[in-house]
């Protein structure tokens, strides 16, 4: 069921920090900072990951001119076991905190919960977002980077980035969160962890279709419908599903994918970018800034997540996927 926010919480600011390889992203000009060190000068990847979360939050607060003590809630997550990078960042941020896991769809599930807290009057300011760190994620889900394992062309590249939004009560001058759709866990029987885009595309399709139907909208009502990290192949599949459902392919121009565009045409990154930090970074830098500049008036952000664990795919289980969406407008 679609959630319609009567109070229209505002997306006041976004803080995005990214790693060294992400300088090659076509979106890097919109990020607040790009670091030269993948580990943020810390000893381990996980410690660097934690630091990245803290810095993204600090950027979001600084831009909005609010202090840590003004924040009522901190909602977020990452892809590492037990979400320790985010949990440890929460320890240092010292703000009431709930960790949320929707894999790479966590940025949007966090924003939905923060918006609900704002809607019911429990929160004046809340931080919500997600992050991922390439080395840490690859080691956990596939192989350690140092091992030098081969990856097929369908594989995607986990982004090192953190994106956090500051959600507050409605204010005219900021993008408003109008509605949200919480996705189901969808499983079409895909079992290849190197082909996540294909696994996630049906989840994205279901969520977008359900959102449009219940809101009584068509794709052309949107300037942009941006999915999180389907990659080039996943986006192609998603477009194919819309065409099959009777929509003409020329009507699909608002449909884009952050992961497919993230690294441009660079073949080093195979089928494009992925990771919780991919959608979080693009949504909360490029999209917000373009909305404030007036390029986009109505946007649907659809973060997609593959809900697998390293154990489930070793045991031969298929990969359930989800997609959560928020509809944002700018006057």
């Amino acid at each position: 069921m679609v959630i319609v926010f009567q109070s229209k919480p505002s997306l006041i600011a976004g803080g995005v920090v990214a790693g060294p390889l992400e300088k090659r992203s076509i979106f890097s000009q919109y990020f607040d900072a790009n670091y030269d060190d993948e580990r943020w000068q810390m000893k381990t990847n996980e410690q660097g990951h934690r630091k990245m979360v803290e810095e993204a939050c600090e950027f979001a607060m600084k831009k909005a001119g609010v202090k840590k003590t003004d924040i009522d809630y901190f909602m977020g997550g990452d892809l590492i076991n037990q979400m320790t990078p985010t949990n440890f960042a929460a320890r240092d941020l010292d703000i009431p905190f709930i960790g949320l896991f929707s894999a790479c769809a966590t940025s949007i599930s966090s924003i939905i919960v923060a918006s609900l807290l704002t809607e019911v009057g429990a929160s004046n300011f809340a931080l919500a977002g997600a992050s991922s760190q390439h080395n840490a994620v690859e080691r956990q889900f596939r192989y350690p980077i140092n091992y030098g394992s081969q990856k097929p062309q369908t594989a995607q590249w986990t982004v090192t980035a953190a994106g956090y939004a500051l959600i507050g009560k409605h204010q005219e001058e900021y993008p408003s969160i109008e509605a949200a759709t919480v996705g189901k866990s969808v499983d079409y029987g895909m079992d290849d962890p190197f082909h996540m885009g294909a696994a996630m595309a049906p989840a994205a399709f279901q969520t977008i279709q359900s959102h449009l139907e219940q809101r009584n909208q068509k794709i052309y009502h949107y300037d942009l419908i941006l999915t999180g990290d389907l990659g080039q192949l996943g986006l192609k599949l998603l477009k194919g599903m819309f065409v099959e459902s009777g929509i003409k392919s020329e009507e699909l121009t608002p449909l884009r994918d952050a992961g497919a565009e993230f690294y441009g045409q660079d073949e080093t990154f195979q089928s494009g970018a992925s990771g919780a930090g991919c959608s979080a970074a693009v949504f909360l830098s490029y999209v917000i800034q373009q909305m404030r500049a007036g390029t986009f008036k109505r946007v649907l952000l659809v973060a997609t997540g593959a809900l697998l664990s390293p154990l489930t795919f070793q045991q031969g289980e298929t990969i359930p996927c989800t997609a959560h969406a928020i509809e944002i407008t700018m006057k």
Partner: protein, 121 residues
Amino acid sequence: MAMTFVFAFFVGGIICAIGQLLMDYGKLTPGHTLSTLVVAGAILDGMGLYEPLINFAGAGATVPITSFGNSLTHGAIAEAERHGLVGVLTGMFEVTSSGISAAVVFGFIGALIFKPKGNVD
């Protein structure tokens, strides 16, 4: 003589291509691929097919990991003929011991000198 180089090139290449196909299309992990090739080499030698391959292609058959499986079977059979069933256990590592020891020693030296790096270290 010159033809041995050509045969080595092709036979070695074919064994490696099989490994690559197992990873790309068989969806095997690198560990599974390695084990599969070792077992394949062992079975081929059990059927008496690996020795002729070595005679034909030289290093093209001895360098790939399948040759390790061949050596395991070879040692086991040779010792079993001399000492009976116990020979199966003692024989396996008699032929392969130099290879295993070399892996340990050179692996150790390599680890002392080099540090594996990530994408952007």
